[in-house]
Amino acid sequence: MHTFAILVLGAPVSSQSVHTAYEFARAALAAGHRIERVFFYHDGVLCGNQLQIAAGGERALPVQWSELAGAHGVDLVVCVASALKRGVVDEAEARRYGKAAGNLQDGFELSGLGQWVDACLKADRVITFGP
């Protein structure tokens, strides 16, 4: 049994790496491994945008991540510095910056790079997806 820290850099839809990261996480959990944290950085923060609408009635990737994390107690952390620049905000940040609403998918949280370093220290396997 291994403990993974997963870094997601790619943009959803534009980059296949985001879906690959999701499938990897699913397979790792199914095989009995633990995921300490998934950290979304760079364009990967767009995975936390709950306004995404998948074509053809499929569930959008943020919802799939959220369900997977909820079922297995996985931390989904979106880098706050990368996210604000790309328009992904929770309710508190939306209020702070005078925006009409937050758009962070339930099950994700905004936090800093310290959360990623912390995950790297606790994990025995670190894997990056993207660009």
Binding site: L113, V117, C120, V126
Partner: protein, 119 residues
């Protein structure tokens, strides 16, 4: 607790924000008292070129920001010697001192690390 982090930079300094965000990652790792080294490969070595005039394209010059690394005690900077030579970069045209490595040197560097993060 401290681990050895290697940030691998393969993208050119402009055109995407990968170079900037890789640098932010390196600085964050250093701020949390990790041992950090940077390895520049391929077009990533262009990040090291001196006298960048990024203001002309509405950006901040990356070479100036890389200059902040020693302030965070990050002075382990490595670059692929062949990539430097192929792009006409040498000690006189680089913004800051780096150690040029051949293939065997790069392999040795990679095996010394606990964590490798590729950008």
């Amino acid at each position: 607790m401290s681990k050895r982090f290697l940030i691998v930079c393969r993208q050119p300094p402009y055109g995407s924000s990968f170079a900037r965000e890789a640098l932010d990652m390196a600085l964050a790792c250093a701020a949390f008292e990790q041992r950090v080294a940077l390895l520049f490969l391929g077009d990533g070595v262009l990040q090291l070129a001196g006298a960048q005039q990024a203001e002309a394209i509405g950006q901040k010059p990356l070479d100036k920001q890389l200059g902040a690394l020693p302030l965070y005690d990050v002075d382990a900077l490595y670059a692929d010697a062949d990539a430097l030579a192929a792009r006409g970069l040498s000690d006189t045209t680089l913004a800051l001192p780096v150690q040029a490595l051949d293939g065997a040197g790069i392999r040795a560097l990679l095996t010394e690390q606990d964590i490798v993060l590729g950008f």
